[in-house]
Symmetry: C2
Subunit: 201 residues, 2 copies
DNA sequence: GTCTATATAATGATAGAC
DNA sequence: GTCTATCATTATATAGAC
């Protein structure tokens, strides 16, 4: 994975996108103004319009960037774990790795889609695809694990469970609950894959 | 339950609260301006400040109103169903009764808490109590159903599952998924209460 | 490519007539 | 209790110098 994230280098356009992504997540899209992003990137407000025509265009680019990173992440997991069940566990562990952020701000995907839905923002269609990426990938892992029937159901259930855990944990600021849910999800995956895997593969 | 909701009667203050509640839910708190509310209530913008000192004060009153309605709803369910398991099913059915709205705008409680968290709004503390009301009530039902151990765990799991179902269903605009999750939750409750209920009560 | 103005619109909030 | 008129602030967005 290209580590543009951690550095202060990169083109101004990239730095805008990185700052905007972070602020859209922590403050929400609408509540984040150009002034906020400008302060983070340390450029003037007027400079934005050389790189993006409008705030909506920044959002589009942010979502595109997230889609690209998510795709890379999913590829990584396929290398890190050979067996599909192990890969699903890697997905669940994402909640643990980003624990602090999730307890504070919820899931970046879920909260963005919820906000864009209320704003009736056209970018929701693209943001939804973040879910679709995870959904398709998880479905493939469940199928590979031997769950020929209902792989999409299991994928959606797991996805929903992560959303519920993130929403409730962040609303109540309860990281112990998040940890318990993560453990329960790990156990659930093992249970599902052992119970519903076709004996004759 | 007092049916102020359905009527155009009531004091101006109440009509403001009803319209604000609806708009905060559908459009989000920050995205809803006085102009929006004024148009819905059919009063002038300046008239607001006779009833509320600020927008935040309207939010506080809206949350207080929701807390009161939620309390009434929980009381109703205790009358409608004698057995605790039946009461839990009534809670789950709330997702079905509000299906259209939830698929479109998500859960009113979860999405409000998520937004207020990102805005670092003080009213989050009150909004959280909406979850606490459901949590305490569900815990009591699980306990009454015989689940002496882990009643709070079951309550939180169910609460989280409704949040996940609402978030994902609204993000993907998938009401079939919501329906499937509701069915699965009904089955899950019966399973939990039969497996974990103490034999000797 | 970056900056300093500036235009324009919308917002929350106030003052005062009726 | 409701209205109109207005203020101060903030927001997105533009124009043009360097």
């Amino acid at each position: 994975m290209v580590s543009i994230e951690a550095t202060h280098q990169g083109s101004t356009r990239d730095r805008i996108l990185i700052a905007a992504d972070d602020l859209f997540y922590r403050q929400g899209f609408e509540h984040t103004s150009f002034a906020h992003i400008a302060q983070a990137v340390e450029i003037s407000r007027g400079n934005f319009y050389h790189h993006f025509k409008s705030k909506d265009e920044i959002l589009d680019a942010v979502v595109e960037r997230r889609l690209a990173f998510t795709g890379e992440l999913l590829k990584q997991w396929e290398v890190q774990a050979r067996d599909p069940v192990g890969r699903i566990h890697l997905f669940i562990d994402l909640l643990t790795r980003n624990e602090k952020l999730i307890v504070r701000y919820g899931c970046p995907v879920g909260s963005l889609c919820t906000e864009l839905g209320k704003l009736e923002h056209a970018a929701l269609e693209q943001a939804k695809q973040l879910f679709s990426l995870f959904r398709t990938w998880l479905r493939r892992q469940f199928t590979s694990a031997g769950c020929r029937r209902g792989a999409d159901i299991w994928a959606m259930q797991l996805l929903a469970r992560t959303q519920g855990a993130a929403t409730l944990a962040s609303a109540l600021q309860d990281e112990q609950f998040l940890g318990r849910e993560v453990s329960a999800m790990h156990a659930w995956v093992d249970d599902v894959c052992s119970r519903f895997a076709s004996p004759c593969s």
